[in-house]
């Protein structure tokens, strides 16, 4: 039976929710799912992973213990594990970590790789992904003995497929990296990363100033949402670049995207067009965003958003 590897991403001792969509994308009756875990706590994720159909959990460590984060070492550890267990297909998230790991793995294996897939068929070795700033959907076939897939976070709806998983400890020896991670500087942003948020509230040029983003943050907090920004808002220094959604910012795929005072350029849509529902709030009834959203409110965000926050508090409070 073919073995499919899932590179599981963990943050602060918890499996990132977006992993479950990757597992669902890989799931099939005729192959076995192997979850590759590198944080040293493999056994603790057994319940969560088997719920979605993972049969084997490979708890990967070095002889000295857990392998400290270093993309070169982690990539080598994953390759070692794939070769040891005969895993020829690997899936992971197109997250910040996945973007640094999956291409290293594919380059070392000389295996084909498609990043940011919006759908995947591991049996046929085909995927779909957006190209040209979201204007085109490409269907791509991977030709090679080993294949690597990066899945866009939230692009595949997770489906439970319970089974009983077995935990296997696997020791690898990885040394001699060319690069050193000196430190991680925490950013000003807290909470969920934009690319993995279920709900995003974004502000555009109409925000008029950095301090006004507070209105969006208050609303986001009620829903457990992340706050984004358009390029116009970032270029006007109302928001840091890490918050930018769009062509030269982040690509997001939340269930709900609320665009406040964003006109809706092609470049902005490139970053959020695969969202579930798109809501636009804008004073200009002719703004292009109203042609490409699901629900529109013609009005001033500074009036609408606080009302939304208040009503959501009442609704969700019940």
């Amino acid at each position: 039976m073919e073995k499919i590897g899932i590179l599981v991403e963990i943050k602060d001792g918890e499996i990132k929710k977006a992993n479950y969509g990757v597992i669902t994308g890989a799931w099939g009756n005729d192959h076995e799912l192997y979850a590759l875990v590198l944080d040293g706590c493999g056994p603790t994720y057994k319940d969560d992973l088997q719920e979605y159909g993972v049969q084997k959990i490979i708890d990967i460590s070095a002889k000295k213990g857990t392998i400290q984060w270093n993309p070169e070492l982690w990539a080598r550890a994953v390759i070692h594990t794939m070769n040891h267990f005969g895993i020829n297909t690997l899936l992971g998230l197109t997250s910040a970590q996945g973007k640094d790991l999956l291409p290293r793995i594919a380059a070392s294996l000389d295996a084909p790789l498609v990043m940011d897939c919006t759908s995947v068929n591991v049996a046929e070795r085909t995927v779909t992904k957006s190209q040209f700033s979201g204007k085109v959907t490409a269907t791509i076939r991977l030709n090679g003995t080993q294949c690597v897939y990066g899945i866009r976070p939230n692009a595949i709806e997770p489906k439970p497929a319970p089974c009983e998983a077995e935990v296997i400890r696997h020791q690898v020896s990885v040394e001699g990296e060319q690069m050193m991670i000196q430190q991680i500087k925490e950013g000003e942003l807290t909470g969920v990363d934009l690319t993995e948020a279920d709900i995003i509230v974004s502000g555009g040029r109409a925000m008029g100033g950095a301090e006004n983003f507070r209105v969006l943050h208050e609303c986001a907090e009620v829903m457990g949402a992340a706050v984004g920004a358009s390029r116009a808002a970032v270029d006007s220094r109302y928001a840091p670049h890490d918050m930018q959604v769009g062509q030269t910012g982040k690509t997001v795929s939340p269930k709900l995207y609320i665009a406040c005072g964003i006109s809706g350029s092609i470049q902005h849509f490139a970053g959020m067009k695969t969202s579930g529902a798109i809501v636009a709030i804008n004073t200009d009834p002719d703004a292009p965003i109203f042609e490409k959203c699901d629900y529109g409110i013609v009005g001033d965000l500074f009036e609408i958003v606080p009302i939304l926050t208040k009503q959501l508090k009442e609704t969700l409070g019940n």
């Binding site: 197109t94 997250s95 910040a96 970590q97 973007k99 291409p103 594919a106 380059a107 070392s108 000389d110 084909p112 790789l113 990043m115 957006s130 190209q131 040209f132 700033s133 204007k135 085109v136 959907t137 490409a138 269907t139 791509i140 076939r141 991977l142 030709n143 090679g144 003995t145 294949c147 060319q178 690069m179 050193m180 000196q182 500087k185 950013g187 000003e188 942003l189 807290t190 909470g191 990363d193 934009l194 840091p240 670049h241 890490d242 269930k255 709900l256 470049q267 067009k273 579930g276 529902a277 798109i278 490409k292 959203c293 699901d294 629900y295 529109g296 409110i297 609408i304 939304l308 009503q311």
Partner: protein
């Protein structure tokens, strides 16, 4: 130092893409230098301006029109160019091998810069493959860069605004992210001067490298049509918000 910058000629992000013959697109679309590659060129040129003793060589692989992107990079301050010509759209496995072959045929790179990704194919991998081919460490999505005594220190943007500080020895490869710098505007005299700068043309087929055992095959390109039908909510602010709350509650279930 020899600083190489790899750039790509891509359709402008605002250009209309026309799909033809199932898996091709009309390449007459207005094309420009990949925006992240401009940042890479800017960083390389700034580095040369600071140390005075370096050479910046810009390399591209592409069809006829890619010469324009090469000229733009030369106008920004790169010293000379290498143009690997092809009639195809090679995947990243071939591209990385071709770039490596052309660079090594030309000189001995101390630093290679690229953009963090290209906005046409959005493959997000060529810099990693090139680094592996060249046997260099690589850091991508770099937003701060410094160099001292043969060591490079970079900051990479990771998630939720956090940055990872990475140290590498040279030679190494740097993938430029937005925020690393603001690329300069081209001045007419520089554009004129760029026309006289040396560009070495190489045919892709004349480069010798081992053919990759794997490939990506574009089966189909399809225009992503916008299927959303906007429903404008009408009424007083309190009422429209109430409608919206009902709708998004429903959508979440």
């Amino acid at each position: 130092m020899q600083i190489y910058v790899c750039v790509k000629h891509v359709p402008d992000s605002a250009a209309n893409i026309i799909v033809k013959e199932k898996n091709q697109f009309d390449e007459s679309a207005k094309s420009v230098m990949n925006p992240y590659d401009e940042i890479a060129v800017e960083e390389a040129v700034t580095l040369r301006e600071r140390d005075g003793n370096s050479e910046v060589i810009v390399v591209t692989l592409g069809k006829e029109g890619a010469i324009n992107t090469l000229r733009s990079a030369l106008a920004m301050g790169a010293g000379r160019g290498i143009f690997i010509k092809t009639h195809e759209r090679p995947d990243s496995m071939i591209t990385a091998r071709a770039l490596k072959a052309a660079i090594e045929q030309d000189g001995k790179p101390d630093i290679v810069f690229t953009g963090k990704e290209s906005i046409d194919s959005e493959g997000m991998q060529t810099m990693y493959r090139l680094a592996a081919e060249l046997g260099m460490p690589v850091a991508n999505n770099v937003v701060a860069f410094s160099m001292a005594e043969g060591r490079v220190t970079v900051e990479r943007e990771i998630e939720a605004g956090a940055r990872e500080v990475v140290e590498m020895s040279i030679p190494c490869l740097i993938g430029a992210g937005k925020g690393l710098n603001n690329p300069r505007y081209l001045k007419i005299p520089d554009i004129m001067k760029a026309k006289k700068k040396e560009v070495k043309e190489i045919d892709l087929d004349s480069l010798s490298f081992e053919k990759p055992s794997s490939s990506l095959e574009i089966l189909e390109l399809e225009l992503a049509l916008e299927k959303r039908q906007c429903k404008i909510l009408k009424g007083q602010p309190e009422e429209v918000v109430q409608q919206l709350v009902e709708l998004i509650k429903f959508d979440e279930d």
